[in-house]
Symmetry: C2
Subunit: 769 residues, 2 copies
């Protein structure tokens, strides 16, 4: 834990007292989003201190020309960057000619920020004394509407406390913004038109190269003591900025306030010639409702999300706050409405990691969305990859594969590879397996097989083809090997026979062969369509089968464990607890070669395979592998603690499971990895959800039935969660003494509890102790 200033609270994230050194960290933590756009918690008014400005529009990106030291064949030419979008939240404030800037105020008192997760709004209040000795009180509330997802609203109130004052509000739009992350300091936005009328302003701007057309807009209205007043603004306009000035003489104790509505319309959703009209339309709807009614709608929309997604924890505020923060941020990032969007690892909270889509989506996020949303959301995420299949085939061709073999990119925005380190881009190929696994997992959980004949099988075939071609027959071993890969543990590069990758490759082929057989028999018209398209032959399937049936897995007889990769036992096996604290995190303290030849594991690798395929292994085998690998794991990836928490719980190591849970759920709130100022770790937040539901709750799907093995950390009195399982809403409430199961939507459902069947009737409670 590296920071401790967030106040524990069940429903809110709270910061009290102004500390300039926390600004960038809080800008990340207090970020707001509505799935269509999002923004860091930058101040509305000018701030001259250290800040990282960021406002993001879903799906709007920039292909930055790749920067490398030494070019290698196959590197992508461009790297899709998350793009800082024009600023619409800005409201400069002037008091008797003095600009309000928290960095220059002579004192700032009662500073308080709150991110209310229950209702979906961000507030800030403080008393500040300006250099001209005027003391003011400020209260601001802002939210991005879930209901009207092109718009957000701000209510900004200023009260002079020690004197009358002339107060000026200057709401503005600004497209002269930059990206922190740029390879060549390119200009990313081209502003095409700035205009205004009445109290509205519009900036039309398009992204360079990708030509996304956007309109950034605003409309403001000012109030004195809560009553709308008519102030004729003076207007300043430049080539990429427009600013309105509302000035008013305000008496001591009186409150002058502004409500600003703003946001983006984008040609992803509208005709590009119609963006201003679309903006006017959404402004009209929003201003007609007004700030308060819009906020009321926001509360209701969030209530609906929480209704199913909430997890309660009783007796441990920090744990409660952690899980809600994770669920809240996931829902701010992705709501499953748009099949072209995905779940960026930093969501709308920063620029780091170009592209939006990693294997995180399939390996970590899909279970969360399957259980807390309608199943169409998960299906939409699967379809995202189906829609990128051609690009994945093209990507594989660039690397020398053929015959429709598909290699999905490590990082992408539009299906093209964005990453450019050979050891990742070309070698971290296990990602392909996660994409196949998600198809299996979707069917296992939802029972909806239709996706596979309709779309999934083509994806599976492309992936199986890749694995068959990527495997090498070792005459020496008389088995198939997979050479030159990077596993999930990126602290090993270009290794041979990464167990996880080999296992996944074999599984992908076997699973695809099973689906082909099933679809050939049961979905004959789908089968004809597909086989027409992909031209499968018996001969090819035999090649696949040879690879899957003769895959090599590195194994140590001595330790009775699968080896993470060939040669793992040659390492100097000193466990992490015997490593000096001053050496950690090793990714900041050690040179890369030293990390590579060390035994240290960035995130679950062999254990990730045990997580995916736990049915294939006994508890004793899991335990042996956990005991072998966990001591070398440094968890320097956000995706690591959750998998370990789930497996520790499975092994009844509740203390360890709890520690891992806290680490995953409060990773950003407590800034474990010294990097929260860059943005939040969104995708691993789904892992946090899994560590409660699958870890402590022990939820699995076994033979089309939900199964639970409820456990509870000793630190908690109780906890509860709900899941949507095949249109049944099931609530599970676990205490130290007992577990309550309740169907609160849908029909009767038979579940398994500790491997025994339990029949649940609608609206009745079953108690298992």
């Amino acid at each position: 834990m590296n920071q401790d200033y967030i106040k524990p609270d069940n429903w809110s994230i709270i910061e009290e007292g102004f500390d300039a050194s926390h600004v960038k960290s809080s800008e990340s933590i207090f970020s707001i989003g509505n799935g269509a756009m999002g923004q860091r918690a930058n101040f509305e008014e000018a701030y001259s201190g250290d800040t990282f400005q960021g406002s993001y529009i879903a799906g709007v990106y920039y292909p930055d020309k790749t920067r490398v030291g030494w070019w290698k064949n196959g590197y992508p030419e461009y790297f899709a960057k998350v793009l800082n979008a024009p600023n619409w939240i800005g409201i400069n404030v002037t008091i008797n000619g003095e600009p309000l800037d928290l960095n220059t105020c002579t004192s700032v008192e009662d500073f308080r920020r709150e991110l209310n997760m229950k209702e979906g709004w961000l507030s800030r209040s403080f008393k500040a004394t300006l250099p001209n000795s005027i003391q003011i009180e400020v209260e601001v509330k802002r939210f991005l509407s879930l209901e009207l997802d092109e718009i957000g609203a701000i209510n900004y109130l200023v009260t002079p406390l020690n004197s009358d004052a002339e107060i000026i509000f200057q709401p503005y739009l600004d497209s002269g913004i930059t990206n922190e992350d740029t390879n060549w300091d390119d200009k990313f936005w081209d502003t095409t038109k700035v205009n205004h009328a009445n109290n509205q302003a519009f900036i039309e701007a398009k992204t360079m190269k990708t030509h996304f057309h956007t309109c950034t807009f605003m409309e403001s209205v000012v109030f004195l003591s809560g009553k709308s007043v008519l102030v004729e603004p003076s207007i300043t306009e430049s080539s990429n900025k427009v600013s309105f000035s509302y000035a008013h003489a305000v008496k001591k104790g009186e409150t002058f306030s502004i409500q600003k509505f703003g946001g983006y319309t984008v040609d992803r959703n509208h005709d590009k010639s119609n963006l201003v009209n679309a903006a006017k339309a959404v402004l009209k709807t929003a201003t007609t409702k007004g700030f308060n009614q819009l906020l009321e709608g926001q509360k209701q929309a969030w209530a609906k999300i929480w209704e199913i997604a909430d997890i309660t924890i009783d007796g441990d505020v920090k744990a409660q706050q952690g899980i809600r923060f994770n669920i809240f941020q996931l829902n701010q990032t992705y709501l499953g409405k748009d099949s072209k969007l995905n779940i960026g690892p930093k969501g709308f909270t920063g620029e780091k990691y170009g592209g939006s889509t990693y294997w995180d989506t399939e390996a970590y996020c899909i279970p969360f969305y399957m259980a807390t949303k309608d199943q169409n959301v998960a299906r939409t995420l699967l379809e995202y990859r189906y829609n990128h299949l051609d690009k994945a085939i093209e990507n594989a061709e660039k690397l020398g594969f053929n015959n429709g073999a598909a290699l999905y990119p490590m990082v992408t925005m539009n299906g093209e590879e964005c990453h450019n380190e050979w050891e990742i881009t070309f070698e971290e190929i296990h990602r392909n397996g996660a994409i196949a696994f998600a198809i299996y997992n979707y069917h296992r959980y939802t029972g909806d097989y239709s996706y596979i004949p309709e779309k999934g099988l083509e994806v599976l075939i492309g992936i199986a083809r890749f694995w068959q071609q990527r495997a090498t027959f070792s005459a020496d071993k008389n088995q198939y090997v997979i050479l030159g890969v990077t596993g999930p543990n990126e602290y090993e590069n270009n290794v041979n026979n990464n167990w996880y990758t080999n296992y996944l490759a074999k599984w992908c082929i076997d699973y695809t062969l099973e689906q082909i057989e099933k679809i050939e028999t049961e979905y004959t018209s789908d089968f004809s369509r597909i086989s027409e398209k992909v031209k499968l032959s018996k001969k090819e399937l035999a090649l696949w089968k040879a690879v899957a049936d003769n895959m090599y897995f590195p194994y140590s007889e001595k330790h009775q464990v699968y080896l993470q990769q060939d040669g793992f036992l040659d390492k100097e096996l000193i466990s992490v607890e015997n490593l000096s604290k001053s050496e950690r995190p090793i990714n900041q303290k050690w040179s890369w070669d030293r990390i590579l030849r060390s035994p240290y594991i960035k995130q679950a690798d062999t254990l990730q395979g045990f997580y995916f395929f736990e049915d294939q292994f006994s508890n004793e085998t899991l335990e042996r592998h956990f005991d072998f690998y966990e001591p070398f794991t440094v968890h320097e990836s956000s995706l690591s603690p959750c998998v370990h928490s789930i497996q520790a719980a499975k092994l009844d190591r509740m203390e360890q499971a709890y520690t891992f849970y806290l680490r995953t759920s409060r990773l950003d709130l407590d800034d474990y990895n010294h990097e929260v100022h860059e943005g939040l770790h969104i995708t691993s937040m789904a892992g946090t959800w899994m560590s409660i539901v699958e870890g402590f709750g022990g939820m699995r799907v076994k033979d089309n039935k939900l199964s639970f093995t409820p456990k509870i950390p000793k630190q908690w009195k109780g906890y509860s969660f709900k899941v949507n399982f095949r249109n049944h809403i099931l609530k599970v409430h676990i205490t130290q003494e007992q577990t309550n199961f309740e169907i609160i939507g849908g029909n009767d459902l038979e579940i398994l509890v500790n491997n025994k069947p339990l029949m649940l009737k609608g609206d009745s409670l079953k108690v298992v102790s």
Copy 2:
């Protein structure tokens, strides 16, 4: 072979006929240098076609800020770049107001370039018709003086052929030049002063960051029909250029000519405030001698070099031209006068490969310089590394080593690492072994042990310490392993137990331990000084010994060969001859991951070890390894064919040895690797020399005696070479029938011929058939 336009000739490189598509290639091939500076064969007059301008000053470099895709701890911040220096060769020519530009002439006839290697000059002649229909004949000769190595001279003659004409010569200096290779388009030169007086001009400029101060200078004199004429030039001066205009009316058939002297004085050799005076002094010496006398001196200086360095080949002009080109270019690049200089892989012929010093120097170049120069030249090259020992220790510390362990950089200009790919910079550590081997090799050849107690031992100790710390004890193998390395075959990255590296590591430790023992007994005062400085303990030596005595070497019982690295046999072992031609060169056709998991070998790796340590292995063992590895070798490094030629000759495979010889000796002339336009491969040229002397001649040093096993390719009538061995100059002349040995300088010498002793008396010939 990818080009074939160079005319075969015993002593010259000749191009006939103007082809714009050859310009960049010829600019490389016809490069001239004198050890202190060098330049590509750019035209003096303006040329608007495709060209790569380059003039280089030895030891003057620029530390370009490193560019990487993803930063890793330990990467160097700067990359020392070979720096294009101000242009002093420029002479613009105008005929009746029309600029001469071969790219715009309506015809170019009788174009001929000659690089006369015997005498050390470059000439060019042609007849050209300008757009204004004037036809002229041009003859140019230029050289960089070996005698006065700060200066070069140009004689440029123009004769109007079809009309009288006003001819203007505009000799100029220009420091407004750029580098083709720049990471951030930085400006590399800061011009501080431009001035002129009489017919002389001077531009003082310093490099950014490194602050090398240089003065670029020129002086010109013009002639009509060979007689000096006084023409008052008009002068143009800007902030980084100065140009003189000499205009004259010239009658049809009359020759107007200019002699231009120019070059650089540098604060590496002079006080920086005195550069202009130093320039004036060298100009005075040069102009007093005049062009012809200076050229006469040039011929004599080259005659002196050839006296010992020449290799003759009878009956194979292309082979003869190849070896002389290699010897010539090596001598143009490095003459051993300055202990701060080294042998850049591209010499003075291009910018590629930043830094000047690779392990090429120790592994390939030192044998050439030992045998064809005074032994002090090789000693100076060893001292270069001694002088960088502190930096090598610092470099190792950056990677986490301690206690004086030294890791020499992969690439350097001043001792600091310049490279920034983790798989090379951090892992291609075998370079450290070559530096130790060169010390051993120097002693073996010259018999001069004094270098080791004086300086070499400290280097050896730093290197031995590195190897001991870099090795890992594998509890699994109960042996020491070396994990995560890149061997000489850079088509494998981050492998475990590269046999060559492991063998070299063990050898380094063993050799260092032997030297410590010897110096402790025989050079006691040196030993006290050194042990005071490096603080060796018995305990530490025992640690070293444990590593050397228990080093693991991957071996295949089945194939009876050492494996290039762990896991080599898992590859799909398809030999190069079964690889489609369209797939090659693989470094241009394949993605990096595919190269890595293939069995293809860029350059001798295991076989490099057999070359260094051949006494340790029987011929049968060598043959087995040659037969195992050569079929997988693609020779896509310039350093590969020479080692294979030597070993093929040793195995009596003369046809193969000859093919490899041609490939190494004519690599650039025939552009085998599609890249000669970027510059020449200087360091591998020393390998060409080795492939004749050590390969065909079979020269070795055995127990302080020179030993030969003479062989001759069937394509040759005979060949001869000379070597300087411990102050004896021995000439060896091998024909199909016999071998003549002759001492032509020094005293009697006993040598071994086919392992039998042969006593050579001064000035008498011994014939062995």
